[in-house]
Structure formats: C-alpha cells, structure tokens
C-alpha cells in the first residue's frame, strides 16, 4: 500500500557534523518522494515531537521515520497512535563507529535511508487477531504452588479452575512435619501453613476446585483453551503409556540422524500414533474454557532403585528423607525396626556417580531437608547426634542462617563425604564413607540412616497437560527433562504459549520459592489472557499485534512450518495445510523462514519486505572498489551488541549494511539469492548462541539458520560463487568488543576474491 511518509533526520549526537544532511535528505525527497523531510536536532524533545504531530495532522502522514539514535532508545517518545514508526540508526550504526565526513560513511547513511524508507513502504494494513477473549485461569496441581497461584489469580479478580489429582488439597505439605519460617532470625521451624491456604482456597468463590481429577485434554489456544477434566482413573495410565511411547520413538528418531527429519513422511505417522480427541465424550467429565494455564503439577521422589546398595530395602532403619518426614510427623522419633528411641541419625546425600548429571534433581532442597530433619532430632533429643554427609552443602539466601544455627549445635556433625556402603553394625547400622573432610575413610554408627532423594518433575512421567497439539501432547523439555523456553531469560515461559510452569515441576524448590514462583506464574497467566484478548503477543515480543498469515492456496503441504515452529503454534487441517493459532504464536517468524513457498508473512515483516530492502541497497560498480556486505542480524541480542560497539566508538568497515531480523530463524534462502544477484559481495548471518546453553529467544532460530545455510552451497554453485562469501556467526550480547574483528575479518576475506560478477545487472 502507499504510505505518506515523513522523514525526520536528527542532526544531534554529532550526526549533523559527520554527514552531509542535505544529500541525505535528498535521498528521501528525490529518490523516494517522502511527503515530509525535516532535519533538526533532538527530535525526542517535546516541542520537536509537536512538529511531527502537527505534520501527521496537516499532511496526513501514515508513517514516520526517525533517522537518529538507535531504536532501543526513546521508544515511548517516538510512538504515534495508529502511525507506523520506523527508526533508522544513524547514531550507533553510522556516525559513532565510522569516520566523519567520509564518502563511505555518507554512502552508508544514504543506504540506511533507502532501506528504512523501503521497509516502511512495504508495511501492510492488516487488523490484529482479537478472537480469543476468555480470561479465566486453569491451575493444575493443588499443592502449595497451585494453591498460591489460584489465590493470586482469584485475588486479581480472575476465575480459577483448580485441578488436583488427590482427593484433598495440600499436596506434599500435608506430609511434612515442619517447615521453614522465612522470617528472622531464620533459625526456627514452624508447622506447615498449608491448612490456612486450603481454607482460603475453599472459601474463595472465584476458585472452582476439581478434586480427584485430572486434565484429560487441552485443545485450542491462549484466550480460547478448551479443557476437559476427568475423574482420576486407570485411563490416565493408559494415556500416559501411549503418549510416552510416542515420545520415546520420536526422541529415538531425532537422535538417530543429525539430518533434518523429513517432516512430510514422518509427521503423519507420528500423529496417527497418538489417541485422537474422542468425538463423543462418553465418560464422566467437566468441560471448561480458560484463557491460560498454570502448570504446578509438582514432583515425585526419585525412584529409590539406586539406594539399594545403601541398604534401602534390606534394613528397615534405612529410610528416605520423605519417610523421615512421615516419621517425624508422628511425634517421637523411633526406629522403624524395633520402636526404640533414635539417638543417632546419619543423613546421607545420595550421589549416583554413575549417571551423567547426578545433581539434576537435588539442588539446595536436599541440603535444607537434611538440616531441617537434623533439627527435629536435636530438638527432641538433647543427647542426639545427627551426622550430615553431603556432596555440596547448599543453603542459599537466608537459609544460611538456619545452616549456621545447626552448625553451631554441638550435636550436629557435618562433613562432605561420598557414601560407600551401609552395613549392619549389630545394634545399629554402620555407614561407610570416603572422601570426607576428616581426610580419611570414615565409618559412623547410626540408629537410623536417612537417604536424600531427588525431586523429579512429574512431567517426566506424564504429559499432565495432554495437549491436543499438532506437535504432540508434551511441553518441550530441555536435555535434562525440565520444561524450558530459556529459563534464565524467561523463567516462567514454556514452549507452549499461555502455559506457565511454577514450583517444583520446574526444578527442585523450597516452599517459599514455590510461593513466589506461583505468584509470578499467576501474573504471567493473567498477562497472557489480557494481551491475547487485545490481539497482542506475549513475551518476548509482548505487545506485537502482527501475526503470521498464510496464503494457503499456494501451500504445498510440506509441513515445515508446523514442524519448525518452536511453540507448536500450527495445527493441521484435514487437507494437510497448516492451521494457524495466532494466539499461540510468539511472532518469531521462524515459520516465515521455513516456508519454501514464501507464503507466510506478517504485516510488518515479510519475505518481500526484506528482499526489497536488500534490493534497495546501492551497489557501486566493480571499478569503484567498494565492496558491499549485507548482514542479516538477530535483533534480540546481536543487534544490541552492534549498538554497544557504536556506543563504545569501536570502528569497523563501512561497507556493511545491517538488516535486523526478528530472529535469525527468519532467514529465507531467497534473500541470499536476491543479495548475490544484486552484486552484494558477501553475506553474514549473526545470531544467538545455540546448543545446550542456547541464548536464542525463540529456542532454535539461530540453529535453524545455520542448518539452512549449510544447504546454500547449491545456490552458490549455480551462481558460480565462492562458498566463503557467506558466513554464519554466533554473537552474545556481551561480546560487542569482538564486533569490529568479526566484520573486518570477513571484509578482509572478501578482498581476496574478485568483486561479485553480478554487479550492475
């Protein structure tokens, strides 16, 4: 569509002194016929903003371009109601990192002007997706996390449906003898506060509780989830079995080959192995519509199979820390074997050095529980002795104070140590350890041996959610079995939009952390329901009103989009074409990059738009000896790194042109072809780190880009070009100081080749 564009060039920040502003303005006015073009300093000032507003009103502008500082600053100032706003970064990307009044710098600025106006002129006017309007919250799990999340969401005025598989609320806290206070001086224990929480939930008329029930299925999308709740029964085991088998097969297939799976062949078969949504629900069930979901399904103790070598199962006085809680809850501490009073307890932190990640399910909670249970003994028996053998003693935050109080207790003996064996020592048990702080192998006698076990998320055994998604019923998990969508940056997100995890399902946590976590997840769930009702994306592109649209007529049913979407946004229509669920979408546009037919587009981001930007770059002929490099760059971490390089006045070649992408996973082969046939000499792709410690905001975008580029050699061969003309890089946001080397090295490499022979075609 045709836009009436106003271009506002900022001459502040040294821009006016470094560039020929008149020449730059004439690019906008002569080449592109911008309706308005003004050059002045500091457009973010209120009186200058008034000039822009006046132009919008009097000239009927539909788009405003600010050519000045980075788009990461003055976002609020440069927001105009119903007006497209585009930013050209003349500050960090041009004058702060390239020589002033230099021909190449001027050419760079003018190219950015062309690219910015081209981009703006490609914006399309499409409405946002506001169909999902349901705002109630489904909370799965009635333990301390689920109860807290329910109370939080209900307290904010939202209807809550709470599903608990047990016949009563409270979860593990019903079994715990005492808990930490979380109050100064942090060295005491109190009775579990769970009963008050249960009462509060039961008396809250905004919370509807389903006891002894499980989620049978969840279909739909945020703001319009359809949840079927079914009383607990043998059906859940059958369902889990089918789904787990499906998952195991899927994983086995993925591990077998590093080749990209051929989606068209496998996906249909895969889907067929899952139970379909029954057409008639001929069983006792309840159906509710919810806007978002808090998954607080919690944990189970790690299977005690590894504990056998420490006498678990053979000696009744070797118990797990869970059993110890139950024992302590009964009152006086007596031995399970003969009912005699317990005087000595050895708490042994279990380390299975045979497995790769022995710490996976332990965290600090194991240490805290051992400390807590040692406290039980010392409180009830002044002559009692408690040994605590740990691999890592972890008492984070204020728990340090509890640790110290126990450390000061003369009856508590702590040492690092690796358990070797537990044997019968006559009237008591003998625990054997190696690598202790006492510098020697150690044996101690104990009336009771308490083995700590890990906390396994229940999602390891079951999908719990039973999603009716094209990509399967499970939340995607990280290599360690936890649901994940980049924990460090987005702690509550999962890879299924609108479903937020909280509490121990996310990793071992103490009660206080669970409560905090529950509140966070409840707020996230509310935020999601509210945003999708306004047609906006959730984190990390919160507020984005664009969404992918598919020109289905040209779809070849290759299913790449449905397979590659990291968030499972696409289901499938019976004819095999993708069925978008816009409110599940995070707007990363990875699907746009995946589509070989190039039929997926956003109103402000499309294959055509980026292709046009590439084509708008002015490429000097081969005799000018001015090579051109296009850098497709992830706007989440890599682009800010470039900004930071500018802020730090790091200089690098002015032959490069940055084109920001929502994610490097947007990369479409056609852009590469466009650039090369235009005469661009080299192409770089800069995205986030990937692999185990990935930093991609959309989980696997940069990885996919790398994969796609590995297939580019065909294109290059067809054009008779060197493969070194394309380079893919991973750049973390803190690595900005490497930017000049990164770019200059590439430009240096290109200088070894002839200019791109397609220049001037």
């Amino acid at each position: 569509m045709d836009h009436k564009i106003g271009v506002y060039i900022d001459t502040g920040y040294g821009i006016g002194e470094a560039l020929d502003i008149e020449a730059l303005s004439s690019v906008a006015t002569s080449e592109f016929k911008a309706t308005v073009c003004r050059a002045d300093s500091y457009w973010s000032d209120p009186e200058k903003l008034a000039i822009i507003r006046n132009d919008i009103a009097t000239e009927g502008l539909t788009a405003v371009i600010i050519a000045g500082p980075s788009s990461r600053v003055f976002q609020k100032e440069f927001t105009f109601e119903n007006i497209i706003t585009e930013r050209i970064n003349l500050r960090e990307h041009v004058v702060w990192c390239h020589p002033a009044n230099d021909e190449d710098t001027q050419m760079l600025a003018e190219d950015y002007m062309r690219m910015g106006i081209t981009k703006t002129s490609k914006y399309e006017d499409r409405p946002s997706f506001t169909e999902p309007q349901e705002k109630s919250v489904l909370v799965i799990g009635g333990g301390v996390t689920g109860l807290t999340a329910s109370l939080g969401a209900a307290g904010a005025g939202y209807q809550v449906y709470l599903v608990e598989k047990e016949p009563k609320l409270g979860g593990w806290l019903n079994k715990f003898s005492k808990v930490f206070t979380g109050k100064p001086p942090y060295d005491q224990l109190v009775d579990s506060p769970i009963q008050e929480k249960i009462k509060a939930v039961e008396s809250n008329d905004k919370i509807r509780v389903f006891l002894g029930s499980r989620v049978f299925s969840i279909s739909g999308a945020p703001g319009m989830f359809d949840v079927i709740i079914r009383p607990d029964g043998p059906w859940i085991e059958e369902l889990d079995e089918i789904q787990n088998r499906w998952l195991a097969e899927k994983k086995a297939r993925e591990n077998k080959g590093t080749e990209e799976p051929e989606p068209a062949q496998t996906s249909q078969e895969e889907a067929a192995k899952l139970p379909p949504v029954p057409e008639t629900l001929d069983f006792d069930h309840q159906q509710v519509a919810v806007g978002s979901v808090v998954l607080a399904a919690g944990w189970r103790p790690e299977e005690p199979s590894g504990l056998e070598k420490f006498g678990y199962g053979s000696y009744p006085d070797v118990i797990t820390n869970i059993q110890m809680e139950e024992l302590a809850a009964k009152g006086k501490l007596v031995r399970p074997s003969d009912g005699k009073e317990v005087n000595t307890i050895a708490f042994v932190e279990m380390v299975d050095d045979q497995i790769e990640h022995p710490w996976l399910y332990n965290s600090a909670v194991g240490s805290l529980v051992a400390l807590k249970q040692a406290h039980y003994l010392r409180k009830s028996n002044p002559n009692g002795k408690a040994y605590i053998f740990y691999e890592n003693m972890r008492a984070p935050g204020q728990y340090e104070k509890f640790y110290r109080s126990l450390q000061d207790d003369p009856g508590v003996f702590m040492s690092k140590g690796t358990p070797v064996a537990v044997t019968n020592g006559g009237s008591s048990l003998t625990v054997e350890l190696k690598d202790t702080l006492l510098g020697e192998a150690l044996k101690v006698k104990a009336d009771l041996v308490v083995l700590s076990t890990g906390m396994v998320p229940v999602t390891k055994d079951s999908s719990v959610l039973n999603l009716k998604y094209r990509q399967g019923p499970f939340l995607p998990e990280n290599p360690y079995g936890f649901n994940d969508s980049h924990f460090i940056c987005f702690p509550y997100e999962t890879q299924r939009t609108g479903i937020y995890t909280a509490g121990c399902v996310k990793g071992p946590q103490d009660i206080l952390s669970c409560e905090t976590d529950a509140m966070g997840a409840a707020l996230k769930a509310i935020q999601c329901a509210e945003l999708v009702s306004q047609g906006k994306a959730v984190h990390p592109r919160a507020g984005d009103e664009s969404f992918p649209q598919i020109f289905t007529q040209r779809c070849t049913q290759c299913k790449r989009c449905t397979e590659e979407c990291p968030f499972g946004a696409y289901d499938e229509k019976p004819d095999g074409t993708p069925l978008p669920n816009p409110s599940r979408c995070r707007r990363c546009a990875i699907c746009m990059g995946s589509c070989p037919e190039r039929i997926i587009s956003f109103r402000d981001h499309s294959v055509d738009m980026i292709g046009s930007i590439v084509k708008s770059i002015e490429v000097p002929d081969e005799y000018a000896e001015k090579p051109r490099v296009v850098v497709f760059i992830c706007e989440n971490d890599a682009l800010p790194a470039i900004d930071m390089a500018g802020i730090n006045r790091l200089t690098y070649s002015s032959y490069v042109r940055f084109i920001p992408l929502r994610c490097l996973g947007n990369i479409n082969m056609v852009w590469i072809a466009d650039a090369l046939s235009k005469g661009i000499d080299g192409i770089m792709l800069i995205g986030c780190k990937y692999g185990d410690d990935y930093q991609c905001h959309f989980v696997k975008g940069s990885e996919l880009a790398e994969y796609r580029m590995s297939k580019i050699s065909e294109t290059l061969a067809r054009l008779v070009l060197e493969p070194e003309r394309i380079r893919v890089h991973q750049l973390a946001i803190d690595e900005y100081s490497t930017v000049p080397k990164l770019i200059d090295d590439f430009v240096e490499t290109l200088s070894g080749f002839d200019p791109n022979p397609y220049k001037g075609f």
Partner: protein, 399 residues
C-alpha cells in the same frame, strides 16, 4: 595413619572444648584459610584445619594425641583471617588445656586448676599452708631492718621460719616435677602409639630431638615467625628469660645461704651486687613482659585471642607472684617494714601456687610444648619454616 576411622563423636568433649574457650569452633566450614595463613604450620598435613573438624566432631583421641597443637604459638593470624569467625587459635588453646587436664597426675589437680568452681580451694590450699607456716613461725614482725628468713624460732631472728619454708616448698617442687615428668612421659608414650611413623622414615633419638627443640625454644625462633602478633614474641621472651633469671638468682642465693652459710643478698654488701643486678633485671623483664601480655589480652582481644578461666588463673598467679615480688623489694627499700612483710607472705602464697600447679595450669605448656616439639623433631615433622616461600607460582597453563 589408620586407613579408616570409626568416628564416635564425644559430644561432651566438644562441649568441654567450647566451655574451655573454643566457643566458635563449630562455625568452621573447613575452608583452610587458617592453615594457609599459619606461618608455622608444616607443609605436610598442616594445622589448624584438621584440628577444627576433629574438635567439631568431638574426636577426643585424635586431639589429645595431636602434637601439632603445641607447634601453634597462638599468634592468632588464623583467627583474625577466619572468614567464619571460628577462631581456630582459641580452639587449639582449648585443646591444649584439655591435654594438660587429661594428663594431670593426680587427675584431681587437673580439675582443681581447670575449673572455675574450684577457684577458692585452688588458692585456699597454698594460702592455708603459708598461714600455717606463719603461725608456726610465731606470727609477728621482727624489730629493725627487714629480715624475711628466720633460722631460729627462739629467739626469732626473722619473719618466717626458713627451714619449714624450704621443706614445704621443696616438697611442692618435687611433687610438681615428678607429676609433670610422669604426665609428660605418658603423653610421649601416647604420642608415640597414636602417631605411627611411616615405615622407612629416619627416626631421631629423644635426646638429640630434645636438644634440637630446646635450641629453638630458648631463642623463641618459631615464635618469631608469627609476624602479625610480633609483640607477643617480645613479651613472652622477656617473661621467659626473666623467669629463668629469677630461677638462677634463687638457686644461687639458696646455695649461698644454705650451703655456704652466707647472708642473703638483701642483708649483704657489695660482694653480692652481680646477683642483685641479675635478680632485679630479671624481675623487671618478667614484670614488663607480663604487663605487655596482660595489656594486650585486655585491650586487643582480636589479636591476643579469647581468654578463658584457665588463662586467667595462670596469669593471676604468675602476675601476682611477679608484682608482689617486686613490690616487696620496693617497700623494703622504702622502709615500710610492715607492708613488706605482708606482701612477702602473699608473695609466698603465689610462689607456692606456681610451684604446686606447675603441671596442671597453663604453666605446664613449658613441658608439653617442649615434649611435643621434641616429638615432632624426632618424627621428622618439619616445623621450621622452609627457606623458600610456601607459595610458589602456579605452573602456567601454556602447554
């Protein structure tokens, strides 16, 4: 050392150590800052880190047979640097007290000296003995110039009947020495049996080891290594040599008076001036040394370490001995006859305490430390600082 140990923590022992001044020992989390900070710990298996966990774990046998606790001169570098405030210096001191108390023969004396509840009795015994001597001597101040020693009761030719003093004080000394020797002998034996020397190690005999230990103790060589608290080295050196000087003076005078039948120096002419000088200089050194230690204990507890009853008891008797000794002389010279006699009597009470409690009070460290250092020498445990600094540059990672 034994391959593995069966730990049966002695809860009471840990509590005793805590009561004996090791109140913070449970705070240790074995970071080993102390062992690194310590200037005198051997490179191999250094203290006080290992002692800290033994103390936390109430491993009585380990601690009571650990010669390393005596290698510590308590400069308190470890305590000031401890990130956890566990005060390893104080913990070791408490262990030393327990060693003295545990090896006490007869055991009752260990309690008598070590427990604050016994304070009145502990000082009461020597006081009563001295009072009895005074009663027998005929409780009166002689006319004229000050004459402390009476050689005859009638006519009484001095303040206090000397033969009785000699008999009782000598008996006390003999008792102490015998007791100390017995204690040290059993201590040595238990060091031997609990710290087996690795097979093949060269072993030194007792006498050469003892001589080597003394050659280090007399000039306070190791003590001097405690840099942070160097003033304690000087103070202890003054006290130590002051004490020896006073001992020599007393011995010579006793020899002169009792064997040669000469008059005591206080009643004598220029011929005894060297003895007088020795005595006075020693006394001044003794009192100044003690004064410094007392001052620092009261004013710089961070460096001096905590002070338990056991410390105070010994400090009390040794300080009062020194101070009354000096004051007695001053009053005598000032002509305050009555005051001189009274102070002399008090002085005797504390001298007797010092003698009697030698093997049971902190005073016993002179024996235990000597024996432990000798044991370390004999076992080849290096307590001298290596000539090279302990920290060598870490090997570079460049391959």
């Amino acid at each position: 050392m034994a391959k593995d140990i069966i730990a049966e923590p002695d809860l009471q022992f840990t509590k005793d150590l805590i009561a004996a001044g090791g109140g913070d020992l449970k705070k240790c989390y074995q970071c080993a800052t102390c062992s690194v900070a310590c200037k005198v710990a051997p490179d191999n298996n250094p203290f006080p880190r290992k002692e800290m966990i033994w103390a936390q774990w109430g491993l009585k046998d380990k601690l009571l047979n650990d010669p390393d606790i005596w290698l510590c001169h308590q400069c308190n570098d470890c305590s000031t640097m401890c990130p956890r405030g566990a005060n390893p210096g104080d913990a070791l001191k408490a262990v030393r007290k327990m060693v003295i108390q545990n090896n006490a023969k007869p055991a009752f004396f260990g309690k008598l000296v070590g427990e604050s509840s016994m304070f009145v009795l502990a000082l009461g015994i020597p006081a009563v003995v001295v009072l009895l001597i005074l009663l027998i001597s005929g409780f009166s101040f002689p006319e004229g110039a000050v004459v402390y020693s009476a050689h005859h009761l009638s006519p009484k030719d001095g303040f206090i009947y000397l033969p009785l003093v000699q008999v009782i004080f000598t008996a006390a000394l003999v008792f102490s020495v015998v007791s100390l020797v017995m204690s040290l002998k059993s201590y040595w034996t238990s060091l031997e049996s609990n710290n087996p020397i690795p097979v093949g190690s060269a072993r030194k005999g007792f006498i050469p080891s003892l001589l080597e230990a003394l050659s280090e103790i007399l000039p306070h060589t190791t003590f001097k290594e405690c840099e942070a608290n160097n003033i304690r080295y000087s103070a202890h050196l003054l006290t130590f040599w002051g004490m020896i000087g006073l001992l020599v003076t007393t011995t010579i005078v006793a020899f002169n008076v009792d064997i040669l039948g000469l008059l005591p120096p206080s009643q004598n002419g220029p011929g005894t001036i060297p003895i007088k000088i020795l005595g006075n200089v020693s006394a001044i050194a003794f009192v100044i040394g003690l004064g410094i230690m007392l001052f620092r204990r009261l004013n710089v507890p961070d460096q001096a370490g905590g002070s338990s009853y056991f410390d105070w008891f010994f400090l009390l008797i040794i300080c009062v001995t020194g101070v009354t000794g000096v004051l007695t002389e001053i009053l005598r010279l000032a002509g305050m006859v009555g005051g001189a006699y009274v102070l002399y009597a008090i002085h005797l009470v504390f001298v007797l305490s010092l003698l009697l409690y030698l093997p049971f009070s902190k005073f016993a460290h002179l024996g235990y430390r000597t024996v432990a250092i000798a044991w370390a020498k004999s076992a080849g445990r290096n307590i001298m600082l290596p000539t090279q600094p302990k920290c060598v540059n870490a090997p570079t990672m460049e391959a």
